[in-house]
């Protein structure tokens, strides 16, 4: 019985660990989006890290869940409306700019001038 509970406890802790890492990742990315210049980003990033470090020693699993939920709510509230997206990624400025034509489609380069060649 205790084996099962400890296994489920560990699984839950691992899930929390991953949630925290993803939350920190997104929040850090968002901090960079909000910062107009890079030298403004560094203190903001340090402040963000401080907010995570403040709860580093929390052991109670329910408290951790609540803290993560609070953090995610706060992230969603302050999310940047127009984030930076790498150009080729979906939503980026170069996404699907020059897609490869589908199979079987041929580009006619002399479109409209076919007649002229016959004459």
């Amino acid at each position: 019985m205790s084996g099962i509970t400890s296994a489920s406890f560990l699984a839950r802790r691992a899930a929390q660990r991953e949630r925290v890492r993803i939350l920190y990742r997104r929040a850090l990315r968002d901090t960079l989006n909000w910062a107009v210049h890079r030298h403004l980003f560094y203190p903001d990033a340090d402040a963000l890290r401080e907010r995570f470090e403040a709860n580093r020693k929390v052991e109670d699993i329910e408290t951790i869940d609540r803290l993560i939920a609070d953090g995610e709510a706060s992230y969603n509230k302050w999310r940047h409306p127009d984030p930076y997206i790498v150009p080729w990624a979906p939503g980026g400025s170069k996404f699907n700019r020059n897609p490869v034509p589908p199979e079987g489609i041929e580009i006619v380069y002399d479109y409209g001038k076919e007649e002229a060649e016959l004459v």
Partner: protein
């Protein structure tokens, strides 16, 4: 014909190899091309640039960094530092790594493998 001409020219022309010294003193032999039309980056370049990024991280001792090093076990970083390193790598190689995959990158070896196999890394 073209290849014969090329080799004939190359035999007579000597271009001095340029050496780039990066911020922390390690030497890169190749000049980095900024065009998006160049070929995919080589494994050596990936390794060099990944190691440079990791060495530049403030909490890392640069002498300990090798291509096989594990961020948490060998360099004594924690999981949030790993997140920061992965973000620095994304900026270095102009990538956007999905969250679930980024979380799985935990060592230099995995980072090099991921970046090298990514079609858009440059």
């Amino acid at each position: 014909m073209a290849s014969a001409l090329r080799s004939a020219i190359l035999r007579h022309i000597r271009v001095p190899a340029t050496q780039v010294v990066s911020a922390n003193g390690s030497r890169l032999t190749a000049v980095r091309l900024m065009s998006s039309h160049d070929d995919h980056i080589t494994k050596d370049e990936v390794i060099n640039r990944v190691l440079d990024v990791v060495k530049c991280f403030p909490k890392v001792d640069p002498s300990k960094v090798t291509p096989e090093v594990h961020f948490e076990k060998d360099l004594g970083l924690d999981s949030l530092d790993t997140v920061e390193i992965v973000m620095a790598l994304e900026e270095e190689f102009k990538l956007e790594i999905p969250d679930k995959e980024a979380v799985r990158i935990e060592s230099c070896e995995q980072a090099i493998e991921y970046v090298y196999n990514h079609p858009m890394s440059s």
